[in-house]
């Protein structure tokens, strides 16, 4: 189990939930649990080959999983996983 934080732009696909508890011992398993509960999320998180999209970053604690073991990064019961997508707003 780990806690997964969902950013505002993706909450439209999680019935508005900001954080969910998910099963899994790695980031990949936790994301898979999230995606199986909310299948419409997948196309926003992954490209056609199943790779995490390059404008979606995933953090374990305050570390980017690209600099850990990517989706194989282990997670425990107290782990906080945060999805941080690219946003561009600010001007108009």
């Amino acid at each position: 189990m780990a806690t997964l934080h969902i950013p505002t732009p993706l909450r439209a696909y999680t019935e508005g939930q900001a954080a969910v508890r998910v099963d899994g011992t790695t980031v990949g398993e936790a994301l898979a649990a999230l995606e199986s509960a909310h299948p419409s999320l997948t196309k926003h998180l992954r490209d056609a080959s199943g790779k995490l999209r390059s404008f979606v970053n995933v953090y374990v604690g305050d570390e980017d999983i690209r600099f850990l073991e990517r989706e194989a990064t282990p997670v425990g019961a107290d782990t906080e996983i945060t999805i941080v997508p690219s946003i561009a707003g600010g001007g108009r």
């Binding site: 404008f55 690209r66 690219s86 707003g89 600010g90 001007g91 108009r92």
Partner: protein
């Protein structure tokens, strides 16, 4: 120290609260007077940024924008006012800054920032502040800062959430280390489609202004290497580590940023399984007797603000297929939303479900209100 400009008696009085701060002091204030900051965008983020940088006594401020002040801007773009609705944003900002601090020298660039002019415009400034609203310009600002070795003070906002950091400062990471590539168009909604709490850019823009002053003064610890996340709804700040990406491709030149962000429309348009109509085209067709089934794919609260009087059905675009069985297959269907993005997605979903007579209202109800029926409000 001797190369720094002197302060007049008026400036000494004006900046007295800075002068008695040891960390700023007379030398720091003179440094600010000698400093040059470029602010790209005078919108939600640019408004508080420009006001605070001007008030703080940054000697030269450049502003890049080619938009005009609209009533819908005033909920958050506090440098502009009711009196400047319809005026160019740079002229509106210039008047406000001249009143706030006449000691500031303003450089006005009333033009879009492009790969052709960015390096020339950026060259004369110490710090670049990114207050833009779109991915192509953000990557352009980043790449130009990397090529010129200038710090890029970054902020962006969406609904109730903001992000801020300092890119490319003293060998620190840049935007491409954080996000190597932009999202494809349409996948991430803009503030115009998703909405934004008016105060949010005030918080993020003020953080950007703070970081800018710290860089100019050489004091404190900047956000370089840290991504600050702000969640206004739960009042939570979080910090994430930001590192140089060893796999990042080196930035060697400016590129076609519209193309990089997938915004070059030509290759996509012909293969779309629906027909695009401008508000004027749809209106002309209706005048000539065209009677499509009109499907509004916005949220119910948006239809409460304004709706087309001849709409037949309201159903949000995300799960439009759940009503597919009750939509006519033997009649044209005109799909609309606020700006045309969500309705295009709904058209694609319906086309995949076998519908063939689909029309998308480009520009949405906003274009209809602007170009056809000005009695309707825009939001």
């Amino acid at each position: 120290m001797s190369l720094l400009p002197e302060l007049s008696n008026e400036e000494i009085a004006r900046y007295s609260r800075h002068l008695i701060l040891q960390e700023v002091g007379l030398e720091g204030q003179r440094k600010l007077k000698a400093s040059k900051v470029l602010c790209v965008g005078t919108g939600g983020l640019g408004s508080p940024l420009l006001l605070y940088l001007a008030a703080a006594g940054v000697g030269t401020i450049g502003i890049v924008d080619f938009d005009f002040v609209d009533a819908s801007n005033l909920q958050r773009q506090i440098i502009h006012g009711t009196a400047t609705i319809g005026v160019s944003k740079v002229a509106s900002a210039k008047a406000r800054i001249a009143d706030l601090n006449p000691n500031v020298t303003l450089d006005i660039y009333e033009e879009p920032l492009t790969a052709e002019n960015a390096l020339r415009i950026f060259a004369g400034y110490d710090v670049i502040v990114d207050g833009t609203d779109n991915f192509p310009t953000r990557y352009l600002v980043n790449d130009a800062c990397v090529l010129l070795g200038k710090p890029n003070v970054y902020g962006s906002i969406f609904k109730f959430e903001g992000q801020a950091t300092v890119f490319n400062h003293q060998g620190g990471p840049n935007y491409r280390d954080l996000y190597p590539e932009p999202p494809p168009p349409g996948l991430v909604p803009s503030c115009a489609e998703g909405g934004v709490l008016g105060i949010l850019p005030g918080v993020i823009g003020t953080i950007q202004a703070t970081e800018t002053l710290k860089i100019l003064l050489g004091i404190g610890t900047t956000l370089s290497g840290r991504l600050l996340l702000y969640d206004a709804m739960n009042l939570r700040f979080r910090e994430l580590k930001l590192r140089r990406d060893p796999d990042a491709k080196p930035i060697t030149e400016l590129i076609d940023y519209q193309g990089f962000c997938g915004l070059t429309p030509e290759p996509l348009a012909p293969s779309e399984p629906f027909t695009r109509l401008s508000a004027r085209q749809a209106h002309e067709r209706r005048q000539a007797g065209w009677d499509p089934y009109v499907l509004d794919v916005r949220k119910p609260f948006e239809a409460e603000i304004v709706a087309l009087p001849f709409a037949d059905r309201l159903h949000p675009h995300e799960d439009v297929l759940t009503i597919a069985a009750s939509l006519p297959r033997d009649r044209d269907i005109l799909v609309h939303c606020k700006l045309g993005g969500r309705s295009a997605k709904a058209c694609e979903a319906l086309a995949a479900a076998g519908f063939t007579r689909l029309f998308n209202l480009d520009g949405g109800i906003t274009a209809w209100a602007t170009d056809v029926d000005p009695t309707l409000p825009t939001y």
